[in-house]
Symmetry: C2
Subunit: 786 residues, 2 copies
């Protein structure tokens, strides 16, 4: 049996535990040079002790393994609300001081480290962007394992350890992520080592996985395809021994799997490798107070946050805290100046191998710009607006395929989606790469590949987690999904936006590639599914979040979609939401105009209007989104035909944040710009892709806002025809013409006949579809007539 | 071995398959009395064939078992996009005709059944509220199993079968739901029988669970705690035999488990029972075309939707369709009038035992009003506004505890939450019931109970699914959760709102109890967690949805929270979102005033203002939410002290939809009402709990909107003090006073000194908290001074 340096490891672990407790409690006397007094204690005790000793144990042993084997390793701390543990380790290994030079690795720095924790003006209580070495906020649970896999993809030399709390293990996103091992390529990807930390409790309850029979747990983990290794106990000496042995075994297994896969040449077989994992079963709040006020604390849920709550007021608590801190024997761990002694640091790796310094956790440092194809080579020719049709996402698919081709060697671009890549018309990608798949294959399968870079699993959560992990470690990607089901990741994208917002304020964090969504199969064309698949509200959700991070684009045709995608894939530290249809859509703009239009974000389509560039049209018809654009143009054509003297201006908005005030969003228009487009006093009929009130929420401060009338989706839908969808929601061309007649002063009288004709057309359509099941021929066959 | 009536079952199955195909394709000639011609075919072919034969098989065999054993059973159809299957069965058993008398059980009715499917003016392509016997929309995946458990809780006589597609099994929410068996009480709850349907493919990919080694799958399902029974094959005769046998075995096991638990008296042991489940492995699109245009279809992903896509245009496809339909030998299944023959119906149960008629699936039929306690008995006494403090959710907890007590025998009320019931201060509930738990227990455990009705699992998805299933089958409940993490169920609540919206339009669906959310641990008081736990946007999300269903309440104190909860628990067919704090909060209103205030939804707090009931105050200070209310009152007090001649009106809004136009929401105020509260021309400074632009989006049509200035959360936060949170987001009392000075005409000059004093206070606060880590004493100790 290998001899492990247990006493060195234990010294490091005790030091980390000491520092974790210190952060939760102390604002002075960090080295306990004098007896603890109430004024040394923070007035507000905040933080999570329960998970910290376990995280410290993992960090200590990872340190050793990294140093021993010269590993490139990253750790995702699922229970990252145990911020004190990860901060303690970062300070011990020196990366904290390198990142924040004010917090030195000595008594003064230790004092500041303690004081700043969960203190106003200090650092958050969780692992957060501010934490060196982290790619994962510890606050919201469920995403640790998918983040870990995302980090490992296309990093063949990287080991990604991932601590999963048994609370987090109850969440859906985490439960789904176990199967990510069927998507990990042992040749081109790194390894993921899940460490399931069964400390038995959540905030107030036992955890499910800690309270099922051991045989069920073992079956479950084997059922996930893993080889589980168990480390169980509460005696530190024995647990150190077991943990070191388990880690050694696991890393040997990983090395063997990778060697076989990478040297075998041939297909490694019909099944994914059985990767090892560790089950670490230690007490919650281990080494903390066993009992407080007569109630058991260590090993129960009561250890979750602050085990001793009344330290300032209660002398017995104060005494217990001092005993607890001294139990780590700080005098043996830190010298008189508060510096960690050599033994504490003996098994800490050096330089970029330290977990707080690894460049993979500051992915922007590794990021290379994508090789962007020439847009013109992928554009669709447009001689005359609205005379040809293309499926926009298919055109985008060609473009993405080129990027996929051109990154074949670099392997730093992936497309993820929940089983919808082909449905979303991006299937040309399979010319350049396959769909990642390590499961059993059948002869009838198509486009599956052990080395593919299209990722498909029917879990939006896992897709999002994978892509976040991939981007955070310095690569590029796109998430394509049905518009309605983007809401499944509302909470995840909210966290990612918060991460990016904070990261942007940290000069040491290099910018990473943006998270790009392609939302398609959208609300207006859910022919096959109906009401349950109609929800355009993801845009509303992200627009509530930090404006410096969020961009929303609604390209009206194939070429504008290309220009938007080009822009999004070059951008950094943003979340770009692109809403675009997959159904055949009219081509409105040639590529050069599309590029200009996207750069401006919104503009007048002079060819579509009849205001001849006057400064004062009678009415503005505005549109955002592919279907609204078609309906607005159809309405403009009807007006030109029937009311040729009416000066109609058509405005298309691609970049929806342009509508916001300049002061509130970096893309917002100035009032001068806005007024020049929309006028200050003319009626504006705005056909918008989503919920109509979003436009009001963005534009309410504009001078012309009282004249703004918005049409959009208002939760009316079922399985029906495309045109019936716009009629049901009062966004159809006939309705828009009626709106113009109703709102342009003086027109109601003049155009009464036209208004009636429009209403009749709506009724005719209603009767026709119920008889024939299809849209009226003049609708289905409509094209821009000018 | 039992002899099963295989030929009867097969006849029923073939009939259902025939009817499923007919719905996808035919608009005429339903009985194939003449050769198929293109004009018999629908012009738009929509629907999902792939899963339909499997669903039909399950339905056929459930029918038999129900009839044989006189079971009360419900089935949750996870792959409910296979709408044609469930509709076919409903028509066969007669419930469809009873529900929709126009669609008779004969040739004419069959023709209409076919034509209406996915046809404008007809029925959606999925299982939906319109489908008799359903409690589960088939469109969005992930919630089948948690719905099934929710339906089974407290229905001891009910069997809930649940078909889980192998695509759905990849989702997070479904993956988490497997562990729901640790929460099912074999004494007071019914049984759930999961049927995992491995048909091998999603839209375009193989499924994970169908492509792992059989031993891994078996380990996995045993790891979940189940006894898996396998039914595998493609020969109908053999599969019928195996399915009947598996179902018989499973139902015998279930009966045994229940008998032992219910007669044993003593604790059944330390472990949950090993409930059976069925793995049904049959080809996707089974019995459909084996190949189309030379490509394999049956048994591949190509069978997912419409296997033959060109039937109208392609004579070969038309021929294949006719062969396919005739392969079921319809002439043996239906008589000349199109009525199912006796053999087809031989194993169909009768009356309310039919799956389409079971009252559990129309839960409003079973619903009894809750025994509502007297509010006054739970109210906090308020002699003078703002002189006492209570934790509002704790006061609510007393009230809920009474209900929990009073439903001890009826068992039709549950409270669900992700491990936060105690954290959210509702732990008095444990006086009335325990936390449901069938896992291993330890001596240190508290409040766990095999028969408890508080449900805690660290999965918002499972909590939501449980509660939806519970409500949809005729019971009551409340979901308490951290405000920020309500976004985890954004997508689920969207589907539930759509379900309710549609149900309300169906006269045969009896109203069910509303889904009530208590969002607490809210954005302003995330002292322990910080930025990642700050998101008040769930309200924005639900307010995008159908106004007839959605209600949002922001009670400002304990008594208003009681009044809101009382109202919500009495309401029907709604989603009520209640946002309330758990931290000590001033008591503003005595119970009778609270009740009146909640009924009105918004009102002037005359005691807090200085406008003395004039019709023309100088400024309106409006507030919604507990923390904004405190800041507004503190600002009002400052103004009264420093600018005693200023006429300040204080308006509090509890029911946020009151701000919407009367035409857009049933709770919306008329313009007259709104103007009477807010004036048409005075500055309104509105402190709102969430994102400030929500108020603009609700009120943009009001006359006084240009004068409306809203403060709220704008994504500025970290781990800090409560008052620092409001300062960071410019919603603090000092800022509000400055806003008043800036916006009341003529005040700027008069009150320059006050404005400067307010700015100074903000700076003083900033410095103080960085020094002391706590809020300024005059903030922490503030109370309403009048």
């Amino acid at each position: 049996m290998t001899a492990y340096p247990i006493s060195d490891l234990d010294a490091h672990w005790r030091a980390a535990n000491y520092l974790a407790v210190g952060q939760i409690y102390l604002m002075d006397n960090p080295l306990l040079v004098e007896p603890l007094r109430p004024e040394h204690i923070k007035p507000r005790l905040l933080g999570h002790w329960g998970t910290s000793p376990g995280l410290n144990l993992v960090h200590t042993h990872l340190n050793h393994a990294i140093k021993e084997r010269s590993l490139d390793a990253l750790c995702v701390w699922g229970p990252g609300h145990g911020g004190p543990a990860v901060l303690a380790n970062s300070w011990l290994e020196g990366t904290y001081t390198e990142t924040y030079p004010g917090i030195t690795r000595d008594a003064a720095g230790m004092g500041t480290l303690f004081r700043q924790f969960s203190f106003p003006g200090g650092v958050p209580s969780h692992v957060a962007p501010e934490t060196p070495g982290s790619i994962h906020e510890g606050g919201e649970l469920g995403y640790a394992l998918s983040h870990a896999y995302g980090a490992a993809f296309d990093h063949p030399g990287l080991l990604v350890a991932c601590v999963i709390g048994d609370g987090e293990a109850e969440t859906g996103p985490l439960a789904a992520s176990w199967h990510a091992n069927k998507f990990l390529d042992p040749v081109h990807d790194g390894a993921v080592l899940p460490i399931l930390h069964l400390n038995g409790y959540k905030i107030a309850n036992p955890t499910v996985l800690s309270r099922i029979p051991e045989s069920d747990l073992d079956d479950l983990l084997r059922g996930y395809g893993h080889e589980p290794l168990y480390v169980t106990g509460s005696d530190p000496a024995l647990v150190h021994q077991a943990m070191a042995r388990a880690l050694e075994h696991a890393l040997d297994r990983i090395a063997l799997i990778q060697r076989e896969a990478r040297t075998g040449g041939a297909d490694p077989g019909r099944e994914y490798p059985r990767w090892p994992m560790i089950v670490l079963r230690t007490p919650k709040g281990w080494t903390g107070p066993a009992t407080v006020d007569g109630e058991p604390v260590e090993g129960t849920w009561r250890a979750h946050q602050v085990p001793l709550a009344g330290v300032r007021e209660n002398p017995e608590h104060l005494r217990q805290l001092e005993d607890w801190l001294r139990s780590y024997r700080p005098e043996e761990l830190f010298d008189a100046d508060g510096r960690p002694i050599a033994q504490v640091l003996a098994r800490v790796p050096e330089g970029d191998r330290r977990l707080g310094a690894v460049p993979y956790a500051n992915g922007g440092r590794l990021l290379r710009p994508l090789p962007m194809p020439a847009l013109d080579a992928h554009a669709v020719p447009v001689d005359k607006p609205g005379s040809t049709l293309h499926e926009p996402t298919r055109v985008l698919g060609h473009f993405l395929t080129r990027i996929m081709h051109d990154t074949a060697e670099r392997r730093d671009f992936r497309v993820v989606g929940p089983d919808e890549t082909a449905s979303n018309r991006l299937d040309d990608l399979y010319e350049a790469t396959g769909k990642a798949w390590q499961g059993i294959t059948e002869v009838t399968d198509r486009n599956l590949s052990r080395h593919g870079r299209v990722m498909e699993i029917l879990s939006e959560h896992v897709c999002q987690g994978w892509l976040e992990g991939y981007l955070l470690t310095g690569r590029h990607g796109l998430f394509s999904t049905y518009e309605a089901f983007a809401h499944i990741v509302d909470s995840m994208v909210g966290q990612h936006i918060k991460w990016l917002k904070t990261s942007r304020e940290l000069s040491w964090r290099a910018p990473i590639a943006s998270l790009n969504y392609l939302l398609t199969s959208h609300v207006w064309r859910q022919d096959n599914n109906g009401f349950s698949h109609q929800d355009p509200g993801f845009v509303d959700h992200v627009l509530n979040k930090s404006p410096e991070v969020v961009r929303v684009y609604l390209p009206p045709d194939a070429n504008t979609l290309l220009a938007v995608a080009d822009h999004a894939l070059r951008s950094r530290d943003q979340v770009n939401v692109i809403v675009a249809g997959k159904q055949p859509c009219f081509d409105w703009l040639p590529m050069d105009e599309a590029r200009t239009h996207v750069t401006r974000g919104a503009g007048v389509w002079e060819w579509a209007g009849t205001d001849r560039g006057t400064r004062e049209p009678d009415v503005v018809l505005a549109c955002a989104g592919d279907v609204p654009t078609m309906e607005v143009l159809a309405a403009a054509a009807l007006l030109r035909e029937h009311l040729p003297s009416l000066a109609v201006r058509v405005v298309n908005v691609v970049d929806i944040a342009r509508l916001m005030p300049h002061e509130e969003h970096p893309h917002g228009m100035t009032d001068t710009e806005y007024d020049a487009l929309f006028t200050t006093d003319r009626p504006v009929i705005f056909a918008y892709h989503g919920y109509p009130w979003l436009i009001h929420r963005l534009a309410y401060r504009r001078t012309g806002h009282p004249n703004l009338h918005v049409r959009g989706y208002k939760e009316s839908g079922t399985t029906t025809t495309p045109f019936d969808m716009v009629v049901r929601n009062d966004m159809d061309r006939y309705r828009l013409v009626m709106d113009v007649i109703d709102r342009v002063p003086g027109l109601a009288g003049r155009a009464e006949g036209l208004r009636q004709a429009m209403a009749d057309q709506r009724l005719r359509h209603h009767d026709w579809i119920r008889e024939h099941g299809t849209d009226l021929p003049e609708i289905a066959g409509w094209a821009w007539p000018y």
